[in-house]
Amino acid sequence: MPVQPIKFYQTGSFVVGNRLLAPDRRSVQARADRTNSLNCGHRACQGCGEALGARYALDAAMRATGNQMVAVNSTGCLEVFSTPYPETSWRIPWLHSLFGNAPAVATGVAAGLKAKGRDDVRVVGQGGDGGTVDIGFACLSGMFERNDDVLFICYDNEAYMNTGVQRSGATPPAARTTTTPAVGPEPGNVFGQGKNVPAIAMAHEIPYVATATVADLRDLEYKVTRAMEFHGARYLHILVPCPLGWGSASCDTVRIARLAKESGLFPVFEAERGEITDVSKIRHRVPVEDYLRLQSRYAHLFGEYGSPGTVARLQEIADRNIRRYGLLEEA
């Protein structure tokens, strides 16, 4: 009998340790029958958070839907590294159309399936932050507003990585990108700009909105599974560190994602019909500096010519998130 070798990628963190659990409590990623929706052999960079996030999310979605699922992908890293002709890493029905239209194409897929009487097949749309918060935003908002039966997942690596690390509407303040270089009196991206798309999604009062990171596999899988329990428009915003664009070590992707959450810079929560229903509390609060120092996109904030004032402003953002979302356990 042929033996299928199974790779276990998640060890050494707070959130895994699946093989010691009863089978029904293991994560989807720990299961021998996981789909491997995004199969090995693709061309993502070493330590790519987006590849990790997409595999986690889609395998969970496949499990939740009994493998009855179609995915629509916007243009971007995920699309490019997964399907250089004539190869494809996708083991699911997968459609790529354009950069800015993935939510609308997903709407069309859902409408077409409904017209064909295939109510059993579910639809996931996905894209990076450029395809979601910037160029695809009108289509995203339209899909939300009509409450189309689509789960849209944004893999947020906080800039246009596929084109070479340019600023997007999701790029955080002070971060260096190639269009917000670390030069001048206020190096990096400016303060006071950017879009909070999870909050905007909630303002549409759609059935389900959640955020997650690739550091917490179980939380991510739970949110995908939960999202699939609803019909109508749903939105999942996953923070996916990018070693290339963030200037971080490939081995630090999960650690950085965890620090984003533990510092309060990236609040992890879920919401139903515009109301927050749960937040993931910070387990070990860390100063934002712990998160920033691992990434060369913030290198200009430290060292001899550093900017402690800018670090303090970023800490203020984290503190505000902590207050606003109640990210700390009550004393």
């Binding site: 002709y85 029905p93 159309s97 800015g100 239209n101 069309g108 017209a115």
Partner: protein, 415 residues
């Protein structure tokens, strides 16, 4: 059933008879009445199963159609003018993916200056998008072309644009024979996709293709349009057999057999041209008309055959390639002796094309005096005034406003 009906309603009814699974709608004049009528068909339950999606833009309209078509649903939308340009990226994408979407373009000018009236600037801008383009002469043909379009599109896995003149056709009430559901069902088989997103057999659609195969992918798109040169007349013939009238095909020749002058045009203006040509024939002028129904693929052989030995070819165009002149002309010149071909730009932004103006212009053509590029009924006084203002000083101001001020209160004079 023969009815006195608005063009848009006739088209919507024909589309509904084709049983689209998904209709996406975004309002833009002059296509609105089409999707309004389809909304009624779906909302009332007469057209079912069908998802009517009110999207947030034309870009989304085509994108929704792409998604629907990729799961095997028959998809339809309609647009015009700025809407077509706004969806342009998805228009190219739909043909690149080989998805047999059918779209009505209610032909309208493109701004600036903003102008809601008819010409062909919109669809002509998409002539290289990989879509088949069919131009309707009458409302009957517009309705019939939609039934044929789904069949052509699905047989070739290529999208088809049915172009009908905005307002002139879309808002005109005339007699249209609408077939029965049984007749259309017999003519148009259910959509059997060549590629489909199906969990039982997962495929990736829309993968990246590099230099190693991109030329071949484009060549195949061209080869399928060349197949359409055979298929379009074939479908028209089958349509005639099934419904008892001639609609569609590649070209409509009219009195061209012994013609020494042939006038070519697309769309509804052909009626006025034929009336003018009938008058000239009565006066003993050997002149004929060639209506071009299929602009993409462009029927070189059919055009060549229709022109025959004629010495003068006049191409009347409702669009202008700024900086060179005629768009249709450039295609016609691939088929016939180039020095015999003149371009007449007419009807831009809804300017009426009258028999009187046509007669004056065609008399010049027959006499061999027509310039290679002519603008019908050009108001040279208006242009002279503006050129003088521009010569007089740097800050001459917005030219559209200047010209409207010159014209005074009468916005459109038909003369």
């Amino acid at each position: 059933m023969l009815r006195q009906v608005e063009g848009s309603r006739a088209v919507a009814d024909a589309v509904a008879l084709c049983r689209p699974g998904v209709v996406c709608a975004y309002p833009i004049s002059p296509q609105t009445h089409i999707v309004e009528a389809l909304a009624e068909h779906v909302k009332s339950g007469r057209l079912a199963p069908c998802e009517f999606v009110t999207v947030e833009s034309e870009f989304a309209a085509m994108s929704v159609a792409i998604g629907a078509s990729a799961v095997g649903a028959r998809a339809y939308t309609a647009t015009a003018s700025q809407g077509l340009l706004y969806m342009a990226e998805a228009v190219y994408n739909a043909s690149g993916l080989g998805l047999p979407i059918v779209m009505t373009v209610a032909n309208r000018a493109i701004g600036a200056p903003i102008n809601i009236w008819n010409d062909h600037s919109d669809s002509m801008s998409q002539r290289d998008s990989g879509w088949i383009q069919l131009y309707a002469e009458t409302n009957q043909e517009a309705a019939d072309l939609h039934v044929q379009a789904f069949r052509i599109a699905e047989e070739l896995s290529l999208p088809v644009m049915v172009c009908m003149d905005g307002f002139v056709l879309t808002h005109a009430w005339e007699q249209v024979d609408t077939p029965t559901q049984e007749e259309v069902d017999a003519f148009l088989p259910p959509y059997e996709p060549r590629q489909v997103l199906d969990p039982a057999d997962p495929v990736s659609i829309g993968a990246m293709v590099g230099p190693e195969a991109f030329t071949e992918v484009r060549y195949l798109a061209h080869a399928r349009q060349m197949q359409a040169l055979e298929l379009i007349p074939d479908v028209a013939a089958r349509f005639a057999e099934a419904f008892g009238r001639n609609s569609g095909g590649l070209v409509h020749p009219y009195r061209t057999d012994d013609a020494d002058t042939v006038v070519m045009a697309l769309g509804s203006v052909l009626g006025t041209i034929k009336d003018t040509v009938d008058e000239m024939r009565r006066d003993g002028v050997r002149i004929g008309v060639l209506g071009i129904t299929s602009f993409r693929p462009f029927p070189l052989d059919a055009v060549r055959a229709a022109v025959g030995d004629a010495h003068h070819v006049v191409v009347l165009e409702k669009a202008l390639a700024v900086g060179i002149g005629g768009i249709v002309t450039a295609n016609v010149r691939m088929a016939v002796v180039p020095e015999h071909v003149s371009t007449v730009i007419a009807g831009l932004g809804g300017r009426a094309i009258t028999k009187a103006s046509l007669r004056r212009m065609l008399d010049e053509a027959v006499a061999g005096r027509l310039e290679p590029l002519t603008f019908l009924d050009l108001n040279r006084q208006l242009i002279g005034n503006e050129l003088a203002r521009m010569a007089a000083g740097r800050r001459s101001g917005p030219m559209a406003e200047n010209m409207l001020r010159d014209l005074g209160a009468v916005a459109s004079r038909i003369g």
